[in-house]
Amino acid sequence: MKKIRIGMVCPYGWDTPGGVQSHIRDLTEHLISEGHYVSVLTPITDDSLAHEDYVVNAGKPISIPINGSVAKVLFGPVASSRAKQWIAAGDFDLLHLHEPAIPSLSLLACSAAEGPLVGTFHVSTPKKKAIYAIGPILEPIVEKLTARIAVSELARFTLKDHFETDAVVIPNGIDGSRYANAKVIDKYSGATTVGFIGRFDEPRKGLQVLVDSLAIVSRFIPDIKFLVAGPGDSSEFLKNLDQQLHNRIVFLGRLSDEEKESFLRSIQIYVAPNTGGESFGIVLAEALSAGTAVIASDIPAFKAVLENGQVGDLFVNEDSADLARVLVALLKDNERRSKLAIKGKLSAQKYDWQVVAEQVESVYEMAIAGGQRVSLSSESKFWSRR
């Protein structure tokens, strides 16, 4: 493909950790390494910190609740005019807007621009939930997207439900080799270490289910160790737990990227007890590419990644007794665990960025095939005329 100038818009605060942000960061860095020019317009909370060269600050985001978590997004007249300036000055062949259907910077950029526009939809929510509820108002804007990408089948169905439009499914990519070659660290490794990563005070992350299973698991495997990584308040979870079991759970706090890679590689089993609201489960694919066996709740997103239990074990969602059963069985069976890990590592290759970026590039190629370039839309030109 010929080298093009891409304008990428991130809806959420760049310096807040999140799946969408890391998706954009990885995709951008990959596209740059392929020789494309990429500029990322994004809200930034703390602009005193240094950011990547390709990042353009659009302003300070505000926190609003979306899809059960708190999202840091940005909109308003100032952001809108920054987006317009960025589009006018950028001389882009194509704009790639992430999550253009929620009130955010992406939506502003989409409404201000004209030409080849590609949108990626990350969210999957049950029908009639508030997030895309303003469908009819957004329709003229979302309609402008030349091509749509959904990060999972579930995200695609959400899109179909709300806008009656279809999308190409391209799953999130991860840099598999980083996880596969991560350093094994002693404090995370051991024959009976079970790991969990996530903002665990959000109920949908399901840490409670894992903690509840500890009482049963420890009866069969007395030296079991649960390692919980991620920001949050741990006292909530320890309150209802037997005093004697407290030393079986270690809260590690937030890990750096490098620590996370080592963590996933070092532990014996990764457990994802999420109770819902996930559209892809990137951490599962990361654990798989680290070569670690995985157990996950049987929510649709996880079933898809684990290929219906072929490359990782599933347990009945929100059922801690079933989780305990599956966990004990897998911890005791070394042979099956390593087989599962090998199968998982192989299947995770399809999420590698190399493959994913190639698919994204062919969408770009189709989108720019008309020969148009990105410009300000006629409406916004009219309004910005002095």
Binding site: E114, P140, E143, K144, T146, A147, R148, E164, T165, D166, A167, V168, Q359, S362, V363, E365, M366, A367, A369, G370, G371, Q372, S378, E379
Partner: protein, 171 residues
């Protein structure tokens, strides 16, 4: 000027603005239908040519060669109304190539096989993009305002091709 006149003027301006907004929206969509079709069309032409090349370079049996080569020809020269059926037949018969490749009985320069799967995945995306544009255009053209004020002008109603996504599965 009385208040009534002012209101009338204001609503006329609003209606005018809305009409021009709708018209530019529709124009954008029509344009997209055309460009996305042009992209898709050229990809399909390329695939037909590739199919001919594949049968020439491979050791496929005469029956398969005949099937692929005739379906490629008819896809190439089909008129608009027969186009999607002809392309579907070609997709079906190209599956035979993949089957042969899977059973290791195929002798074919590997770059042709790579090119085939490459073009197949591109066609999938192009179909998706084109159909989106067609559906959006059709939906918009059903709007009352657009029909009453004939904002679509003399642009023909886009045709929704019945490309079946499943005939393009290539794994």
């Amino acid at each position: 000027m009385s208040l009534n006149n002012l209101l009338l003027l204001l609503s006329l301006v609003l209606i005018g603005w809305y009409l021009s907004f709708l018209a530019s929206r529709l124009d954008r969509l029509h344009h997209r239908v055309e460009t996305s079709w042009a992209t898709l069309d050229s990809l399909l032409q390329k695939r037909a040519a590739l199919a001919q090349e594949i049968v020439q370079e491979s050791n496929l049996d005469p029956a398969t060669v005949y099937l692929i080569s005739t379906s490629a020809t008819s896809a190439r020269y089909a008129n608009m109304s027969d186009r999607s059926a002809a392309e579907s037949v070609l997709s079906e018969s190209l599956k035979l190539v993949l089957d042969a490749a899977r059973s290791n009985s195929l002798q074919l320069p590997s770059e042709l096989l790579v090119e085939l799967s490459d073009i197949t995945s591109k066609i999938k995306i192009a179909i998706n993009i084109h159909l989106e544009a067609v559906v959006a255009t059709k939906n918009l053209r059903q709007k009352l305002f657009i029909r009453v004020f004939r904002l679509a002008g003399r642009a023909p109603l886009p045709i929704k091709y019945a490309f079946e996504n499943d005939v393009l599965e290539n794994n």
